[in-house]
């Protein structure tokens, strides 16, 4: 046997004798610490963190990365410039102006020619206010009333 191996063996095989009574006492101290840590483990403050659990496992880490990438992709892929529904407010405003102008023309027609003029103006207004028309000029509406 080589001298190095001989020394290694000699060091490794050094005998130690342990007093069993005090050894039990030491182990009971270790057990106490173990029991305390078990009691502490059950408190909510020491419960495992969900994020730590996710990032500890490579598979859940990959799944989390995929979810984040898909979410970001959906967010960026959305067309922000062409909304699928037209904005309702301007049309309502246009309709409101048309109504206002129609009422004015009907009132003026009644003041000038009574019920017959009102009836005529009413028909003319219905002809002018077609569903596709949103921009109606005051001149068009008052055409019949003014007699032109």
């Amino acid at each position: 046997m080589r001298p190095t191996e001989d020394t290694e063996k000699r060091i490794k095989n050094i005998n130690i004798v342990i007093d069993s009574e005090s050894n039990k006492r030491v182990f009971s101290n270790i057990l106490q610490a173990f029991e305390k840590s078990k009691a502490k483990e059950s408190t909510p403050a020491d419960r495992p963190n969900i994020w730590r659990m996710i990032f500890r496992n490579p598979l859940t880490k990959l799944a989390a990365a995929v979810v984040i990438i898909v979410a970001v992709g959906l967010f960026l892929g959305r067309d922000w410039h062409t909304p699928s529904n037209p904005i309702a407010e301007p049309r309502l405003m246009a309709q409101s102006t048309v109504k206002k102008m129609s009422l004015m023309s009907l009132r003026m027609a009644y003041q000038r020619g009574g019920f017959d003029a009102l009836d005529r103006q009413f028909r003319d207004t219905l002809d002018v206010i077609r569903p596709q028309s949103l921009s109606i000029s005051m001149q068009e509406l008052l055409e019949g009333v003014n007699g032109s």
Binding site: T4, I14, N15, I16, V17, I18, F27, I30, S37, E41
Partner: protein
């Protein structure tokens, strides 16, 4: 290794039997390691007890990445190093007349029977530089690889191997000379 993994798994789930088996399995090697590093059997016992208490407190969240024996041996080596630094500081303070004079007598609670063999080895080890002592004891008692010891000592694997070989040669000559006396 697999046996250790299983023991740790059960230990994390609160098995006292697993803790007891781990303690019985590694106690002797850790005591030898600490005694060789500290040259004081009372301190060695304290350190091994502290390491096992720390280990027991980590139940439920302990994660084994390498070997369990290597982990416990590293804990013992770190504590032994800190104790040596503290002892050195106390000695310096005493020499300067700053600190209290303390006795280095053995504690009455000592459970390790002081064998002649162990005393001889401890004395021989005490004559080696601390890094060589650490390399030898961690490799032989801690079952650690030179790469792991190098990481602990923050040196290359070559330096660790050289420390080990030099230390072993010197230890052999010290032990042989003591036998001849």
């Amino acid at each position: 290794m697999l046996d250790d993994k299983l023991l740790v798994w059960k230990f994390n789930r609160g098995s006292i039997n697993s803790l007891s088996r781990i303690y019985e399995k590694y106690r002797d090697d850790l005591l030898r390691l600490a005694a060789a590093l500290l040259n004081d059997i009372g301190d060695a016992e304290d350190i091994v007890q502290d390491v096992f208490i720390g280990f027991a407190q980590s139940a439920g969240r302990f994660q084994l990445t390498g070997s369990l024996k290597g982990y416990l041996a590293t804990c013992v080596a770190n504590r032994a190093r800190n104790r040596n630094i503290a002892a050195h500081r106390r000695r310096t303070d005493r020499l300067n007349g700053n600190g209290p004079v303390t006795s280095n007598l053995e504690t009455p609670d000592q459970r390790l029977m002081d064998s002649e063999e162990l005393r001889q080895l401890s004395n021989a080890m005490a004559q080696l530089p601390y890094e060589q002592r650490e390399a030898i004891t961690l490799h032989l008692y801690g079952g650690m690889k030179f790469r792991e010891i190098g990481l602990l000592q923050k040196v290359s694997i070559k330096t660790t191997q050289s420390r080990y070989r030099c230390g072993l040669d010197r230890l052999r000559s010290i032990l042989n000379s003591e036998v001849q006396k």
